[in-house]
Symmetry: C2
Subunit: 361 residues, 2 copies
């Protein structure tokens, strides 16, 4: 199978999507620079994939580091564990990091690669649906600050993405569903046809149909590659990929990182975006119902956490990276498959919309 | 006076070198983005310049943060103080950081600017000779790891450099001398005429002759701007600016950060580079004597620390960022004003040279 490509001039790179490629030595050899390799995985992923990968990379000086799993550990302290391992192992600027696992590991490992010796080579080997369809592609790396998601980070593109479809077969159910939130997001943004395909095939996806999962990952990555190539640093269109994320990040921060999975928060966040879009007259109310039905069918939450208030949500949203001089840019919907950016929405109406969702449970 | 320019396409920026410009509101207005400004200074610099600068910036929402002074605090923990202030103050991506002070503050503040919300605007306002002639120009930002200098960082160019010559008039003597080490470095690399001019004028520089200091800063910045424009990411010629730095960083790390000032370590480091260059037959022995005389006249150390061994130095040098697959690139000298890069030097001879300097005191 031919890889997809993210076209970014001299920072272009391939996305390999296939079953059984996680231990393909030839693929790694093509993209590893230097002799020294550090594999960074979370504790769960290590157990599954590390031994075979170490064998596949036996031609290199290969070390590995297991990080504590989960969003709660996506911080500077965990990043320092990577720096320490690199320094103690005398890794020079010509080394390669491999991020093996889900989105959390990819984000931390990518940030370490962006900042170790002012930038070293790294590969993304995503093993969750969420990481395969979204976070491993596009070069956004970073960690959380106690007061806000992904507030410390850098743009740093990997030299390739190796998405082995077979890894999804052992994915815990909750992780699979969390990934489906980002999948549905791509449909909502600008691909109504894909949204309806997901809706029709949601049960096959939930039971891990290999062909349909492969189609899903390929479609999402093709969408993401196209959007990132057009706007690497998010000065415009790329911001559409944040649909549901300003609401969702507020939920993740308010809940405590890791209490809800990222995709769960994004699911509830997309519902909030959809409802506000309807309240503001952009989208028909029926579309909100359709969106909620699909997310529910995927086993995802469509309501925000019980113990969160609209004020808390509003306060956290205005700390988001999409705020400029106190002006928040939201991703709203005209319809399914037709998202747009707005910073001139009615602020009172936003508060009203949040009150309805948060304070009247 | 017309500013110098660092020519880097859409990341080009001016270097203003003049007396009395540190509180020039118009200059700041030209380069500040957004409404929110955080001035980051060290404790010493704050006392001198902060009140007047806050007045000059009264049109902005201006906050300030004082960091503990000195190289020992150039680490991730101190960087986190900046992140915390930015998050608590709800600084968005459209904010501006101002690094006010010496090289340490510039490096930390620049790194925070490179990584806060994946990169925000920042200005360099260097108030030491070392920062004015070297560290504020060129976009190298970063902090130390306990096992190595500047190992965590990013390339992130400022939007301007404001070098007020008047600030040098209150510079502590030891800081002035430390800056002269970097000044002499520019002469040694590729400007023999400038080296001889410094040698002849060293006493005037030590007594803070304003015209001669201005000539010094302008010459160094012009040299640096030219080299950085030709090789922003240090894939070639820019590495010449590291003359004495691989040896010097080893001294700083071995001594404990801050025990010797950066310029002091670089002075001893340049002597080590010069002696090895002579031992390897590249440079006449008389040139080593000339270099040592000038550095001594500037009040700088020309011998490494008493309690450091050659083995310790060698070990730390091979952890340097200039190592690739265990191959170290050194900056050596054919003569005063004629530096070159070498990675095929005689490794045994390097050890012999270090033994002579470190182990036979």
């Amino acid at each position: 199978m031919n890889p997809l490509h993210v076209e970014l001039g001299d920072r272009s790179y391939p996305i390999y999507i296939e079953s059984g490629i996680i231990n393909d030595s030839a693929l790694y050899k093509k993209h590893i620079k230097g002799r020294n390799v550090l594999i960074v995985a979370d504790e769960n992923t290590s157990a599954h994939y590390l031994p075979a990968l170490l064998t596949a990379l036996s031609d290199f000086n290969c070390q590995h580091l297991s990080l504590p799993a989960g969003e709660a550990h996506k911080n500077l302290d965990t990043t320092s564990l990577i720096y320490d391992t690199l320094m103690k192992g005398r890794f020079d600027r010509n080394c390669t990091l491999i991020a093996l696992g889900g989105g959390v590991v990819g984000d931390i490992c990518g940030f370490a690669a962006a900042t170790y010796q002012r930038g070293v080579n790294f590969l993304q080997v995503p093993t969750t649906l969420l990481a395969q369809v979204d976070s491993s592609v596009g070069g956004k790396t970073g960690v959380n600050h106690p007061l806000g998601k992904n507030m410390i980070g850098a743009f740093h593109q990997p030299s390739c993405v190796i998405a082995d479809m077979a890894t999804l077969q052992t994915l815990p159910d909750r992780e699979l569903k969390s990934g489906l939130a980002e999948v549905i997001k791509y449909g909502l943004i600008d691909d109504a046809e894909f949204f309806h395909w997901i809706t029709e095939n949601i049960n096959d996806l939930l039971t891990l149909d290999p062909q349909k999962l492969a189609h899903t990952v390929t479609t999402c990555c093709a969408n993401k590659a196209r959007i990132v190539a057009a706007d690497e640093r998010e000065s415009g269109k790329r911001a559409l990929l944040n649909l549901g994320h300003t609401f969702g990040h507020a939920i993740e921060t308010a809940n405590g990182y890791g209490v809800w999975l990222h995709g769960e928060a994004i699911s509830a966040g997309m519902c909030l975006a959809a409802k506000f879009s309807a309240l503001a007259g952009h989208m028909p109310a029926e579309a909100v119902t359709t969106i909620e039905k699909t997310l529910s069918a995927a086993g995802l939450p469509i309501r925000p956490p019980q113990d969160m208030t609209s004020e808390q949500c509003h306060e956290l949203m205005y700390r988001d990276k999409k705020v400029r001089d106190n002006l928040l840019t939201l991703v709203l919907l005209n319809n399914i498959g037709d998202a747009f950016l707005s910073n001139d929405f009615d602020q009172k109406l936003l508060k009203e919309s949040l009150r309805k969702e948060f304070d009247t449970k």
